[in-house]
Structure formats: structure tokens, C-alpha cells
């Protein structure tokens, strides 16, 4: 079974840096790391390949500055090889452009299954996987919490507010995986050493057949017009216990319609 996992490399959320005041996008001139949201997809892919008893997980990532360290982390977890798309033309690409570029890199590999995270930790639009599916004309299942393979179809448990849906889907398909549904393995010492010599193919947008004005700022129809600070959380209500506090809490919860 051949699984392609999309992994985004992002600035370390513990030290995210600043927004560029002009473009209102996150500055990406720092060291980038594997987005934790994508470690679940990598783990899911590795488990599927293990269960299938053969095949491999390969990675695709689009990132600035030829950044590799997040890919190396995912290779150390056990992926077999990686494709990195990186060049200065790509600066400013919006989510749709990103999806087109990733789709082009994925198409070449003819995978059985494409896995991505439900949403990245920095950009957070939660749209790239579905747009990749649209570009490749593949079925898409979102918010997967488990994937079971049977022949050339899969059964996906799809997380919902109330529980989960069971979705049958033919392969190949694009699945987005919810964070937290599997326990990503740690890159082991042996994995880290092995990752040093695993193939990492670097491509430019031109290599994938994109004209310069089809990607980056020029190719993106989306513009960030304003950025505002998230509002401070308001202080909660303190209920002093005078023996009747439980009634007030019940009333409070009833007002919220949670009980």
C-alpha cells in the first residue's frame, strides 16, 4: 500500500515569531519544525502500511527556504522518502495555490491513499486536503479518527459533534486526520540515523510545471486584509459556596443549555 502524507513545516509554536506587517502572514525565516497536527497523519500512514504488510509512506511538503528539518523528523518516524517543494516563487501562496502545488507533486507518485491533517497549527484554514482532492478529482473524507483498508476501498470513522459517521470510500482517496486520534511514535535514535540517508527530493514549482505567475503572490486570489488580536478571555463567574452553590451551578449550566 502506497500512502502519501502531506506534512507542513511551521515555525515552532513555542516561539512563533511575528507577523510581517506588510503581508500579514507569519514570518517564516526561522527554523521550521514538523507541524504536530501532521504527526498524527504520519503515524496513521505508518500503521496502515504495517497492517497492510507492505508498501511505504512517502511525504510531501511545501515550505520556504528549502526547510527539511520537519521532513527529517517524519522520516525518522519511519517514512521512506520525501518530496520538498521550495522556491522563492512560492512565497505568498494561498491555500488553493498550496493545494494545487501539493496535488501536482502527489499525482506523480500515484498513491493508493493521501493523508493530511484536518487543519494546520499556524494557517488553520482547514481547506487544503479537500482542495487537493478536488484538484486530483479524488473522493475526500474529512475528520477521520480511524481508517480501515479492505481491498481497494476503505472504511473511515469520521468524527462528528455527536459521535462518528462510518463512511465507505473507494481508493485512491484523500483523507484528513483529526489531531489526537493516534499516538504518534517518537523519532527513535535508530530512526534519526536512518533518516540521514533516506531520499529527499527537492523540486521547484517550475519542475512541477507551474509558471511563475501561477503561484506565490501573483497566483493567489486570496488576500489577508486585516489581522486583529484575539479578544482576551473574560473572567469567569465565581460562585461562593454558602451551602447552595450547587443549585447556582445547575442553573448556570441550564442557562447554557448544556444540561
Amino acid at each position: 500500500m502506497k500512502v502519501v502524507v502531506c506534512v507542513k513545516q511551521i515555525p515552532d509554536p513555542a516561539d512563533p515569531g511575528a507577523l510581517d506587517p506588510e503581508t500579514r502572514t507569519l514570518k517564516r525565516d526561522v527554523k521550521l519544525i514538523l507541524d504536530e497536527s501532521d504527526s498524527y497523519g504520519v503515524e496513521m500512514g505508518l500503521q496502515l502500511v504495517d497492517n497492510a504488510g507492505g508498501g511505504e509512506v512517502t511525504l510531501v511538503s511545501m515550505a520556504p527556504n528549502n526547510e527539511q528539518s520537519g521532513l527529517r523528523t517524519a522520516l525518522a518516524m519511519g517514512a521512506a522518502s520525501a518530496t520538498l517543494i521550495s522556491d522563492t516563487e512560492l512565497i505568498g501562496s494561498d491555500a488553493l495555490t498550496t493545494a494545487k502545488v501539493l496535488a501536482a507533486a502527489i499525482k506523480d507518485q500515484e498513491p493508493d491513499l493521501v493523508i493530511a491533517g484536518s487543519e494546520s497549527s499556524d494557517g488553520y484554514t482547514g481547506t487544503v486536503p479537500e482542495m487537493i482532492a478536488a484538484v486530483l478529482d479524488l473522493p475526500s473524507v474529512t475528520a477521520a479518527k480511524s481508517i480501515e483498508v479492505g481491498g481497494d476501498a476503505i472504511q473511515v470513522q469520521r468524527q462528528t459533534d455527536a459521535g462518528y459517521d462510518v463512511v465507505d470510500c473507494p481508493l485512491p482517496a484523500v483523507i484528513s486526520v483529526t489531531a489526537g486520534v493516534v499516538e504518534p511514535r517518537y523519532p527513535s535514535f535508530k530512526g534519526i540515523m536512518a533518516a540521514k540517508s533516506k531520499p529527499l527530493d527537492e523540486k521547484s514549482s517550475a519542475d512541477l510545471g507551474f509558471a511563475a505567475d501561477a503561484v506565490g503572490w501573483a497566483g493567489s486570489g486570496q488576500e489577508i486584509v486585516d489581522v486583529a488580536e484575539a479578544p482576551q478571555r473574560e473572567a469567569g463567574e465565581v460562585i461562593e459556596d454558602d451551602g447552595e452553590a450547587h443549585l447556582k451551578i445547575v442553573e448556570f449550566l441550564e442557562n447554557l443549555k448544556v444540561i
Binding site: A76, S188, I192
Partner: protein, 382 residues
Amino acid sequence: MTTVSSPFYNDEHRAFADAVRQFTENEITPFVHEWDVAGEVPRELYKKAGALGIFGDGFDEQYGGHGQRDPLLRMVMFQELSRSGSGGVLASLLSNYIGLPPIQKFGSDATKAKYITPCMTGEKVAALAITEPSGGSDVARIKTTARLEGDHYVVNGSKTFITSGMYAHHFTTAVRTGGDGPAGVSMMVIDGDAEGVGRTSLDKMGWLASDTATLYFDDVKVPVENLLGEEGAGFSMIVNNFNAERIDMAAQSTAFARVCFDEALNWARERETFGKRLADHQVIRHKLVEMDRQINASQAWIELLAWRLAQGDDPVAEIAEAKVNATLTFEACAREAAQVLGGASYLRGDTVERLYREVRVQAIGGGSEEIMRDLASRQLGL
């Protein structure tokens, strides 16, 4: 600890440091107090640590080790694990690193396969048994005897203060096979379940998560193939082993000092007295700088020593001195962090409270400060 801005570390060191940091944050730090109360580390942790490659530095690949000895990798690993703020967890989890190296260096292939392999995966745990009730500093005077009888030795005596002593599956043990003095000392592996092996648990001031025991050997039969190297070669093996243990302990002590500093710094930034932050009082600021100053000096020194070990150098005197320096740094930082935290540092479960109690064992175990100075003075030919 300062893996980013040090010239000594390569990409693999940094990647492994990141993995061990995550492992420590997720699998160890949240539970250290619970494990202190329980008096042991859950055995599952050994298997998870084994999968990560925590036990492998310096052991052959065919037995599940890394196939290389890298003192700098070892340093980042010990220091990242130390961020948990529990020396007890490290002592317990890492007793393989004192129990197994003599087997790796002097055991036969069969002995290595039998004893090293299951420890690498975390299924089994090794301990080192040298110290006796009659003393630990003067290793040449150990009293436990091993008498050769045909195809086995018969061991009689007792060991004490043995880390992982209650749980370990085998003990790399110093015994007397010959006459008095260092030339009569040998090393052999004794199975924990051999007939005649007894264990009793010791109640300690610190390292509460680590099981520590007194061992009794009563006519214990040990197959001759469990002898490591030659009869009489034990003393030099022990001395050799101590060198690695000491830089490991210096690495931990320095990292624990850093944890004390971080705890104090966070507190000093948040806590207000007399209308301003603690950090705005000059006395407190100077305490923090004094801590940072000593930690940075210790860190720089031990990294340099690890690098020198990696080059094949064997700076015995300096490692002994650096261990003293690191434990004194730890002692000073635990004290000052406690002063900055005030009463909060006196409550069970607080990180500084735990580390404050753990200072003494770092300064005594693996060669006490006094013995380290004495060793250095002899090495320096004073």
C-alpha cells in the same frame, strides 16, 4: 541543554534531544510526584524508553544498542531527561548505564547476548553492585567473596545502596576472588533470581522513585562464564566504569541546577512582594544571576569534557573536578531557588523541594566530592 548554540552538537544530536524532550514532557514530567509516592517507576516506561533508544549508547548494534559510543549524544539525552526534575526517575531508568558497560567491554559474546539484549528493549534492568555495608569509597577493600568450585563460583557477602536493587534482573557485582587489595577483586554477573540472593528495600531521603536495596548473597552459585574478563581484573573495570558514570552525574546535576533556576525565574517574574515583582528586588535578581553564572560555567566545562572523550582523550582528573563543580552548582542552585520560592519550596510535590533533597546523593554517589578531590589530586601528581 543549550543544544542550539553549542558548537559541539550536530543535527542528529539536536534531533535526538528534541525527541527525548518530547518523551520527557509527555511520559515522565507529569508523573514524577506520583512515582515518588509509589516508590517506583512503572515498568512500562522502560519499554517506551527502549523503543526510543534511550539505553543504547555504547552498546553493540547486534545486541540492540546504537553501535557507537557518543558522549555528546549521551549528554543531551541525560540532560533532556533531567528536565523532568526527578533524579530518582533517572537513577532507576538509567541503571543500565552503570550495570551494563562492564558486560559490553569484558563479557563473552554469549554473556552479552544474554544480558545486554533484553535490557536494550527495556524488558530487563541491570544494576551495579559494588558498595558494601562496610564502605563504598574504598572499593579495593570489598569483602564479598567468590570461591571457585568446578564450573561455578560460590558467592557470599552483602551489597548495599544498590540502585534498582529491588527490581533489577541481574547485578554486575564486585567480588573478591583473590587475596587482599585491588588485585583480588573480580567482576561477575549475578542473576537476581539465583538461589541464595536476598533483597531488602532501603527508605531514603530522596530519589524516592528509585528502588534502592541491600543485597545478600548466601552461597549463591554463579556459572564461571559469568565472570567478566580475568580474575583479578575487577578493580580496573570499576575505576574505568566510574569515569562515564561521573560525567553522566555531572550532566544531570548541571541540568537539575538549570531546572532549579527555571523554577526560581518563573516564580520571581510572577510573585509580587512589597508592590513589585520578586525579580525587581535587587537581592533576588542577583541570586538568579549567581545561579545562571555557575550553571553556564558547569555546562561549558562538561560539554568540553564530553567532546574530549569523543576525541578519545581520557581526562580523569578533570571529570572528577567537573563532577564536584556540578554538584556544588546544583547544591547552590537548589538552596537559592528554595529561598526565591519561599514556603512553596517546602511543600511535598514541589520540584525544588524534590531536587533539594536529591542534592546529597549526587554529591556522594558515584564517588563523593571528597573522593573526587582526592582522585584529582593524585592524578595531578600533587
